[in-house]
Symmetry: D3
Subunit: 284 residues, 6 copies
């Protein structure tokens, strides 16, 4: 069973609204290599696990638990980027010029139509998330290799998305996720090491100096690229795998640690023009 | 952030393998009105919530938390139904007759191809789960009405699926979910009552005597149709809405309660013929 | 604007329930070459028509109007095939054996889950109807050629589906539609003749003796393969195209005629076990 | 059977071409809550209706009939917005600069590729219309609640789309549809009132002053928000439900009335550069 | 079996990067009437061919072989249009302003996220290529008519896409493909002539003066509109059909000829900022 | 450019018709890990390759070339399995009993509706092939890892499908493809070895004794699990990678060799009842 404490796993840094950034950041939420995919893939792999060697299941489930928080973090970041992006003045609607004309120019129009300027289960191209992207091959080696490709491509894509806006809200969340994807890449690579592979200098994929992203540096200093957060309320055997030297060329020691302290969930203001929340008379 | 204790929210009752039942039960997992949809819909609605009236968000998020456990329950039930459904004798493969010929006759063939006889993110027709089924309208009344239709249709469909097999593994999980969908229907109907609606005798949808399902009776006796489980590790305001008389014609008092004690996750045996888990030499 | 009289365009012949036939007949409703496609394709082509040569638009729209009635005819036929296909005795549910276990063996399970044993906007494989199957090229010749392929394939597929069950409900509707698809094939071929083509003996596609289908014979005797029904309440110029010798090797004279007299819509009984219609206390 | 008179259900107000407006208006045609969905949903619900209480079927079918005209109205509006949006001078193609370079910047490129600058069965994001959006639950209460959410979300989305352009062609059609969606919301809410619900002040959803949209005012003055048009050529029992006080907080008396007088279908000019209509030598 | 020589079927003319052109050119690769569709449609039709009259299969397979080269040509053209479209200076990433901010404004964002600025199996709207677009009706006449519509619409769409940019890389490839689609249109029309049709002046569709596209003229001078390239290493009977007078109003003699001499495949430079190719230490 | 010789890459072994086997074998053609996916994935990766290190591109393209032949082999095998599966006696149609009633019971109904009992671009569940399954990450390591998962899962799935029928036509093709997928797995694993990985005993995935499949044994004896066929008409550098000791625990020496001698394409008989080929008068 799953329990919750109302804390985000990372901070939302305030900056200007940026609907074009919100559009491309959807890839990290509802894209083929986004957080909804990782969450559901690890959910299915841990539920479908066969056999007694539970340290592998504990590892996969442990990362699954973190991905639920990642989904919430990216949803919240997109909401922050969309917040106050249209309707420059409340009550101005329908007078001279169209209040959303400008906002939607480089935006995903569904951000402004389907909901009240908030996140959607779609990718950067507006395609809805699809269950056929989830793989649970039932063969542990195939699953671990697939997860490795998933986390590697996660970093790869986020490092490209990062270059699409210098917005601080946008880049801070991407930087945190890049570092965490590195940790998860290490976790799956390490699990394969227990089966006999010597990776040499293959990882991380992509090959890059993580410190060239200024926002990443503090998370590296915190050791987040070599840490696995433990969200279990009971015992777990993750550390039978996630320990010792990192399989990445960046080296370091792998460690299972407590989750971050938690960050406040920003409150989104009501939008009468968007009819949100729409509590009838209460909304006067 | 999300935490976990390795317990199922309800018991898995053992019975014979039943791949045809596993096929149709997928609707309750990956169908348009299945648990993946409820989980993701309430995830988006709670993350996208606007305004200060947080009791509504707490209610939606509270149900979201339970749905994560429902996803795990249905995945596990499907796995139990598929378990030992093919390969009557290990090592028999490829001799006389094809070991899976019979198993797949009324099965979803992907249950035997994509994974090692285990659950998939698809519906009863084999269509993959789709993000376009998730609605977060950004208008609280529209969201609550949509959730009401979602939970009502959830009961309706499960009461039809229930008639497709008398397998006990299958019916026990459906019965538990039918009662819980009733509770959630009550929750969203009650939230709309706080906005001024008097439902008369409309609910529950469908109109039926829940006690005619023998497996439902014990959950009704436990009061599960009028209870909301609390999975929060911090405070919640659900009970500002979820309290007082049930909006359903079945009446009773609504109450926020502790989650069930938890039930063990069955261990799935390895399947060497399915190459699962496939740990290389360890799998000899 | 569109007007309606509660009459079916053809008779529903009673016969036994046949869920396997209902499943494959969905192709004629929600398949790529089914009636929903023809209806929407001709709707878009007539609304998007350019230029003053309105006889072509009148022709396309005239066939569109008939297709709306075809959609209703196939929906009703599927409903008739599903009617009384499960729950052999009302009130028997959940006792010994599962009432729907048998019904769904060769059925589309969604016929029993999504609705109360009734038609769906899907094809014979259960895939939902898709807007990308609708073509409005904006070039009249390309549109007419596309429509010719559409109607030809319509006949072709229906003549194959016809062989899948000897159920009379099923075959009567297919036979009527085969003859009408022939008429529409003639209409589009004739329109292309006005642009200079001489078809020789190419049509109809497929090449077959329509009289080998006993159910088709009476519609051929009525001249339905060479007739275009007129559903316009104002004037139309269809007969500037739809006149003279048929372009088909079966020959005959093309004629615009009044629609059939109309046939009663069968009343579907309520199904308390399926919670349908579910009128609350009225449903006791 | 369905009959037709070549009249639009509302006027097309001329204004400048606006491809960006055409793109977002597609949501009202081929989106999840657009007119193709309402048309097909009510078509399936009326064909699949069970039982003798035909006033509910007459109500659903009555609205279905109007939706066919709405589809045609939105198709025609999109065509008007695209008309003359590219190729500023005929014959100018391919000389200096690309004639469509500018037009497609904020347009749906398929408007210029798939057809001759005209409407498509897709939503504002370019996703094709999908049959899985159509719900016919087979339980009347679930169907009516679903229809209520559908019409409410219809208004909600159109009131957001309205803010995306001040183009008069665009806003007039949206305003007419907003008022009609209100009427249909009232119809389904009223039908639920006959089953015992007292809505209080819940409706309309969203909660708004319809008169703040100047284009809506005249339709409200005509009483269109409380009227149901009758497109039946035979008798109907709609008025057994659609009568008495409106369930909306805006009050008024519900009335079944004759359809509007009808408005001319604009003629779209040929586009030789787009090869439309492409009548061979006739197109010289 | 299939053999390869590393040559493009046409030249890649260099010009400036143009991501907006790359976006719309995707239609010619992964669109419903693009080269992936023609390739797969003719692959299925030739493999599924029934009967002894192999000249028709040879014709279809012969065009299939050319389409494999067309896929490669369009992939390469898109890559050329995207090349150097972002990151104006390598090493500049993340300093002042976002290096891709501008590039993605009118681009398909997936061109910059999914891969290293290169081609994708999607259409101009970003929708993935779909197998349901491939038709192999099993009836030769229906197949030939469908292929005729496919090739005609191929020309039609490319002649519209041509107007979207004056980029030379873009227009040269489109012009070559327009001429080749004409040849294939002639091939299928001629095959239908062997079955008795007299086309009159119907073809080509669209009706246009191919010489108004300056880039087309040289291919017409080479006779490419009336030629079928022969990629068979063994004997073929294509010329039993593809011979004699062209069925097009443009006339000329049809001829089976050797393929073009072949053009070099441009080398794409590595992009360290895009982590491409990403050869670890070799990529320093 | 691509050239062709009318030879299959492997033999089609005759056996009884088996529509249920044809249905599941579609996974190997149009499934997520089927031959259409491998063909298109390697096509995109080779066209999109960046940099001068062409041995990697030659390797990927070399496998792409073989996959085109695999597509043809699986299409042909499915056709053989469907051949004569319905219409036991020609001319028997429509008399007593329905000729296809039995054939479609465990079949994909589209095999009998869409075409004349022949292969389709869909998977074992009937879902159409989808372009979003093709990955060209633009990072060579990610691409090679992805290809490894693709080929490993290819073997895994085929070894499961193999158990679904003992039909010889079916199993021979699967056995050949299983051995070839092993060779391609070796190729991509070897390419990663050139980047520094030591695989230990990880491969092949799945871990199995290939000789337990009797049909595989002869291909292993021919050395096909360690061979790469060369389909280039010009020079290739594949052997710079594909050489030396196999990375698989099965060991052996890797070698680039000539393709197999080639096997005849079976001729499919005409089916007048299916209107195939449908050559009009010629079809009498």
């Amino acid at each position: 069973m799953y329990f919750y404490k109302e804390d985000l796993i990372n901070v939302i840094v305030p900056d200007r609204p940026d609907p074009a950034a919100a559009k491309v950041l959807q890839e990290a939420l509802g894209g083929q290599f986004g957080e909804m995919r990782t969450m559901m893939q690890f959910s299915f792999q841990s539920a479908n696990f066969r056999g007694k060697d539970k340290k592998y299941r504990d590892l996969i489930r442990g990362i699954f638990l973190e991905e639920i928080s990642h989904v919430e973090l990216v949803q919240t970041t997109i909401n922050q980027l969309l917040n106050e992006s249209g309707y420059p003045e409340a009550g101005d609607s329908g007078q001279d010029g169209a209040p959303l004309d400008d906002a939607i120019k480089h935006a995903n129009p569904h951000h402004y139509i389907m909901g009240a300027q908030s996140s959607l289960p779609v990718d950067a191209g507006g395609n809805p998330w699809n269950g056929s992207w989830v793989y649970s091959h039932g063969n542990l080696i195939a699953d671990l290799l697939n997860n490795l490709v998933l986390e590697s491509t996660g970093v790869l894509q986020k490092s490209r998305i990062y270059e699409m806006s210098s917005n601080k809200t946008f880049r801070e969340t991407l930087a945190f996720l890049i570092v965490r994807d590195n940790a998860h890449q290490n976790a799956f690579a390490k699990a394969l090491e227990t089966l006999g592979v010597d990776w040499g200098k293959l990882f991380p994929v992509p090959n890059y100096d993580i410190n060239k992203y200024p926002e990443c540096r503090k998370y590296v200093d915190l050791g987040y690229h070599n840490a696995q957060f433990n969200f279990r309320l009971d015992a777990t055997t993750i550390s039978e795998i996630f320990q010792g030297t990192s399989p990445s060329r960046n080296k370091g020691e792998l460690q299972v640690v407590d989750p971050p302290a938690g960050f406040p969930v920003p409150e989104l203001p009501i939008m009468p023009n968007e009819h949100s929340p729409g509590l009838g008379d209460m909304n006067a």
